[in-house]
Symmetry: C2
Amino acid sequence: MAAVTAFAPATVSNVACGFDVLGFPLDEPGDEVSARVTPRGVTIDDILNDGGRLPREAARNTASIAVQSLLTRIGETRGVALTIRKGLPLSSGLGGSAASAVAAVVAVDALFDAKLSRELLLECAFEGERFGAGSAHADNIAPCLYGGFVLVRRAMPPDIVQLPVPSGLSAVVVHPELEIETARARAILGDTVSLADATRQWANLGALVDALHRSDFDLLSRSLEDVIAEPRRASLVPGLADIKRAAADAGALGCSLSGSGPSLFALCRDLGVATRVADAMTAAVVRHIGGKPQTYVSLISMRGARIVSADPKGPALQV
Amino acid sequence: MAAVTAFAPATVSNVACGFDVLGFPLDEPGDEVSARVTPRGVTIDDILNDGGRLPREAARNTASIAVQSLLTRIGETRGVALTIRKGLPLSSGLGGSAASAVAAVVAVDALFDAKLSRELLLECAFEGERFGAGSAHADNIAPCLYGGFVLVRRAMPPDIVQLPVPSGLSAVVVHPELEIETARARAILGDTVSLADATRQWANLGALVDALHRSDFDLLSRSLEDVIAEPRRASLVPGLADIKRAAADAGALGCSLSGSGPSLFALCRDLGVATRVADAMTAAVVRHIGGKPQTYVSLISMRGARIVSADPKGPALQV
């Protein structure tokens, strides 16, 4: 195969009470990575739609680091050149570095017909994500790769739990015109939490998992509470309390930061409610932050990363 | 009704990864409380099997405080006299104060035919437990009252989640001849935990809830890990690591402290395994601590507290 292109979706991580361990993908947007065989080494042909801001140097790019890990693992001596088409806004809290890393390893796995298990692909993507996100968590790459609502019991070696998704469960994501660096959003958390807050958080996470199993939307709604990260990061998103209230008033089950923000997500019991919640949240974001927010409405996607084209003759992406 | 007697079972709380929020009852042992109507006030007729150590003064006893809360709530002007028969060893980590409080409110609810909801009974028992345990958690009283594997999303007002119990799931409890004061075991924890440990704990709790829903014993086993309380309390139980190893070698899914200890519990996939695990744990406890440990083997009990006799003529307990 001379060239393979893979798509990997945006992901909402943390999901209120699941800091660093819970996530789900949207149908779109996502990143596409095209990979072609080269004689040696991992290089980056191009990165599209990033405004020139992501590192082109293979040793510093999430996707190429993940691919290097895969090549080493399968003992492949040939090389790979990547073209990365960013569909995700940068530093948005929607798992952009995860999407690029996951799309890259899925493409390269197919390129060399390596047929690695999902766990091994996850380990490779994790190497990239660890570099890109500056810390070792897998709550973006796991749902990005597996699809569905995913719990990361342990990132490495991976112990991934695919949770059930109640029929109709939908997500709204609003990305304000605002950037938050993941590293800064993480530093703001500090290293310790009160035992009382931690206890409340794991009670909520346990209840959320039960609610997904029972399709209990009321319990799901009560459990979508973040007493760990959101209070510390609230100052990074002007008007957060008001945006959350707008989502709740429009019928959302819950609303919080997506990952480290600034994107906000809401969960809703069906797509109809989600559409109304999207309008209400977008209006509130414009009121408080201004600019042109990007808004996405989607069922919780059951599809993770996937091959979108495999061209025996050359690169599938038109640069 | 002149006298009513209720039974309330021993409970294992925390259950490794569910500090302060998770618990389940055993079939036995348990406490029995007999209640009779008096003209006024709450008094204690007698307490049996406590070696004279529990407070007879109604204002300082868990059970009578819980009953006073119930009488106030229903506007009952008559009084109650209680006889408490302790089946649970004191300061054992098996929810002794919870069992007395729960049995007392269940008995008095029947005595006055009050028919309070379980949530309201829980609130009354919570008043007693708060006094007895020196802190506000409900992971003993909720499973003691409801039966089954219980998650306390919130203690007050109560938000109680009854989790499914996989067929065959059995518990071993070994109570070493050793006492740990709950207050001391709690002080040893401190007020803060590392964010990394807290994250690992809620990942495990989420996985445990999923495992119960799927009857996935392997995942259940991996999630029975306590990185919060057990490491800090390990020094209170000599030989803990070796006792845990003995349980694992005999086939236990997991083993940790019951509540704040010194009792130890193990979960097992069936009663046959549980019997072997009980032998192995008991032998290890004797080796490290000596004395005569008490050992219990039981399915996870689906029955919570219950009326055992209602005598229209007088007290059911023979003092």
